[in-house]
């Protein structure tokens, strides 16, 4: 084959004079070592796939593939009534399904112009922040596991399980909660909910301090993360990064503060921002955000009062169970309500919330009727995942794993 000579920029000239230009982005074009990471690799968080071309252990180029968990959620949103879609929102970012429930309920309520009572909003805020804490605990824990620190992960995981026990008391489910309803909640918080939440907040604070002491100052951890796989401000803007990953790079954005929804303008909290956007900063921002979220939860629990949890709007009010079980009219209404759904006026609404990973948004177009005409979901992981390739270029294969863990790509909201 010595007659075939490689000219510059990846084109091959054959003896017959035919010249074949290689796509410079084509990984398979030369004889480098190509490894396929995923979709069933132990470090892949969900069914993600990356293909990396290695020079030694250094990643020369790589590409990401998505779509292994695609379930056509958005299309399903156009074929299900508004209530039926709630269960699909659980499966977006399954680490913080409560927050997705809240975001979706807010989107439909905005479209219908419904106000929910005060207690309902406080509960929604508490569950959102609990979901954020869970998500961040899992993210930093798994990130540590990827880099070899296993015990760290289980400390956080224990608190996560405790939180799930509280959530279980709210709605009977641990992971796929489906807690919110359009115009209200599935059911009111149980007796003593505030007390339990506050106890959990106090415990989580001490556990987080312990985790902080164990890992943040650890020399090996810092060697593995500080300055590794940075993604600077410009790149973050280029790739539409949001949430903790953007804040790690110094973009001071937080929808809870910048366009307050729920009662976020009534509570005190800081938005932690780092500067370098490396793996360590993405970790650190999350640690600090957990602290802030715990503060928010404590404030909400203090200010929560007894009261109704349902909007008085007749269109969305689910009939009470004793009415359903004891009166014929109630039963018929209940049946009709759930079988045919309720009418949503024509219009469109884009509602974004600050989910644990970044800006989670629901864009709903209604032409009237019980089903959405168009439903689109902006899952932050889509943008974050696309940034992985440029992020890890020139770094080692072990850094790729660390970067992926720190960016916290969740396959559920990536592929939808």
């Amino acid at each position: 084959m010595q007659n075939i000579k490689d000219t510059k920029l990846g084109s091959t000239e054959f003896p017959s004079g035919i010249r074949v230009d290689h796509d410079p982005d084509d990984l398979w074009g030369d004889s480098r070592f190509v490894v396929n990471i995923g979709p069933t690799h132990p470090a892949m968080h969900g069914a993600l796939r990356m293909v990396a071309k290695l020079n030694g252990e250094t990643i020369e180029s790589s590409y990401c593939e998505m779509g292994y968990t695609h379930r056509a959620k958005e299309k399903l949103g156009e074929n299900r009534t508004y209530h039926q879609f709630i269960v699909y929102t659980d499966r977006l970012n399954y680490c913080s399904s409560l927050m997705n429930n809240v975001g979706y309920a807010l989107a439909v309520e905005k479209l219908m112009g419904i106000e929910v009572p005060e207690r309902c909003v406080w509960i929604r805020m508490i569950v959102s922040e609990i979901a954020r804490v869970i998500d961040h605990l899992v993210c930093i824990g798994i990130n540590a596991v990827d880099l070899g620190a296993f015990s760290y992960f289980l400390y956080g995981y224990h608190q996560r399980e405790e939180a799930y026990t509280i959530i279980e008391k709210l709605c009977g489910a641990r992971l796929t909660t489906s807690y919110t309803r359009i115009g209200g909640l599935m059911q009111d918080a149980p007796e003593g909910f505030e007390r339990e939440v506050k106890a959990w907040v106090a415990k989580t604070r001490t556990v987080l301090d312990e985790m902080d002491r164990l890992l943040t100052g650890n020399k090996i951890w810092q060697m593995r993360t500080v300055g590794v796989t940075p993604f600077n401000k410009e790149q973050c803007l280029q790739y539409s990064y949001s949430g903790p990953n953007a804040r790690a790079a110094g973009l001071d954005i937080d929808l809870r503060r910048d366009q307050p929804y729920l009662y976020y303008k009534n509570v005190e909290f800081d938005v932690p921002v780092c500067q370098n956007g490396d793996t360590f900063d993405r970790y650190l921002v999350r640690v600090h955000e957990i602290r802030q979220s715990l503060n928010i939860i404590a404030q909400c629990a203090d200010r929560m009062k007894k009261g109704p949890i349902w909007s008085e709007d007749k269109r969305v009010r689910i009939p009470d169970k004793d009415v359903v079980h004891n009166t014929m009219e109630g039963l018929i209404y209940h049946f009709k309500f759930f079988m045919t759904g309720f009418d949503v006026p024509a219009g469109e609404a884009y509602t974004a919330i600050e989910a644990s990973n970044g800006e989670l948004a629901f864009y709903i177009v209604s032409k009237g009727g019980p089903k959405a005409h168009r439903m689109r979901i902006r899952g932050p992981s889509v943008w974050h995942y696309q940034g992985i390739s440029p992020m890890v270029k020139g770094w080692k294969i072990a850094d790729l794993i660390g970067a992926l863990g720190s960016v916290n790509v969740i396959a559920g909201e990536l592929d939808r």
């Binding site: 490894v35 252990e57 794993i401």
Partner: protein, 361 residues
């Protein structure tokens, strides 16, 4: 060699071999219970008291599994690799003394299977064969992750063996011998007396820097966290033993634990007085007031127990570190080996030389 020698050697081999073979199941239990202790979990607790018998069903499971050989592997080396890994720790443990000597019928028995005059050089020489098992496994598996794992492993072992060997030179200079039995014996002398406290001439007291270097390299040599890059579970799936299942995988696991035992035994004999009795044991022996052969047997038992306890401490130390620290990155590991440990071990030799010149030892 007459019958007496044969019998004595056979008994010694049994004394070493049986515990060494049971290291893997026991350590598997210790590792799981130990990690559970550190992680607020319960760990295996169903079979036997405290889950102690958990290893038995585990072993049965390993043996009962189907043992397929994938079609894409290089069969000969694929099968050879686990054996090559396993033989090394058996060979190396042969020269580690686990008790002093006793006299039966006017004949001296040294409690050391092979009393080699090259001593620890033998351990270093044979210990470096261990990398062959890993390289063979990675290469013959014909799998990219396994290959990466074995490549990492070979460069890691070569770089850390250097520092390991050099750090032991300090001990050799201090005791003027490479003979492990004599090193252990020499550590019984008194270094200094601080009031009621008698500090023996253990390796750690006269070679603290050498000890730290040796400890670090021992972690690297046994592929344990923070140096478990050849396996690097999250990056390389399972590293060099990715394509192995059933008993072949179990052999790799046994080899890892036995390597830990060898490294712990090596640390104990070089730096913690080997079979020298732990503080307090001498007084117990005096209180018992035995004499003759009984005294000798009890003394040897105490010495072996001391050695075992020291060994167990380091085995626990391995587990302890594994569940605490994150993992290095490959290039950081190499940097650490060549730019930190190697200069330090050379400096250690220099310092030791200066101290010997001024007769501080």
């Amino acid at each position: 060699m007459d019958t007496f020698d044969w019998v004595a050697t056979a008994v010694k081999i049994l004394i070493v071999l049986v515990p060494l073979l049971s290291v893997a199941p026991v350590m598997a239990w210790v590792e799981r219970r130990g990690s559970a202790l550190m992680q607020n979990r319960k760990g295996p607790n169903r079979i036997g008291p405290l889950g102690l018998l958990q290893s038995i069903p585990d072993a049965i499971k390993f043996m009962g599994k189907e043992d397929p050989i994938p079609g894409h592997v290089e069969k000969f080396y694929y099968v050879l690799a686990p054996l090559a890994s396993l033989i090394v720790p058996f060979l190396t443990f042969a020269v580690i003394p686990f008790a002093s000597s006793m006299t039966i019928d006017g004949r001296v028995i040294n409690f050391q299977i092979a009393d080699l005059n090259v001593g620890f050089l033998f351990i270093l020489a044979v210990g470096s064969l261990g990398v062959y098992g890993i390289i063979m496994a990675g290469w013959s598996s014909n799998n990219k992750y396994a290959l990466l794992g074995s490549l990492r492993s070979s460069s890691q072992m070569i770089s850390y063996e250097l520092s390991m060997g050099l750090s032991v030179i300090g001990i050799v200079m201090a005791f003027s011998t490479v003979h492990l039995g004599e090193i252990a014996r020499a550590q019984g002398e008194v270094l200094m007396t601080l009031g009621p406290l008698t500090i023996p001439k253990w390796g750690i007291f006269i070679q603290p820097l050498g000890f730290l270097i040796f400890l670090t390299t021992a972690f690297a040599e046994t592929n344990r966290l923070p140096f478990d890059l050849p396996e690097g579970e999250s990056e390389l799936v399972a590293g060099y033993h990715l394509e192995y299942g059933s008993m072949k995988f179990a052999l790799f696991m046994m080899a890892e634990y036995m390597n830990m035992a060898v490294a712990s035994g090596f640390i104990a004999s070089l730096y913690f007085g080997g079979w020298q009795m732990l503080p307090g044991m001498h007084s117990v022996l005096d209180v018992l007031g035995l004499s003759g052969l009984t005294f000798d047997i009890v003394r040897v038992a105490f010495e072996a127990l001391s050695f075992l306890l020291k060994l167990c401490f380091f085995m626990w130390f391995f587990v302890w570190v594994r569940w605490t620290l994150p993992r290095f990155r490959y290039d950081q590991l190499m940097d650490f080996g060549w730019k930190v440990l190697l200069p330090l071990s050379l400096a250690n030799i220099f310092i030791t030389g200066v101290m010997i010149y001024y007769r501080w030892y």
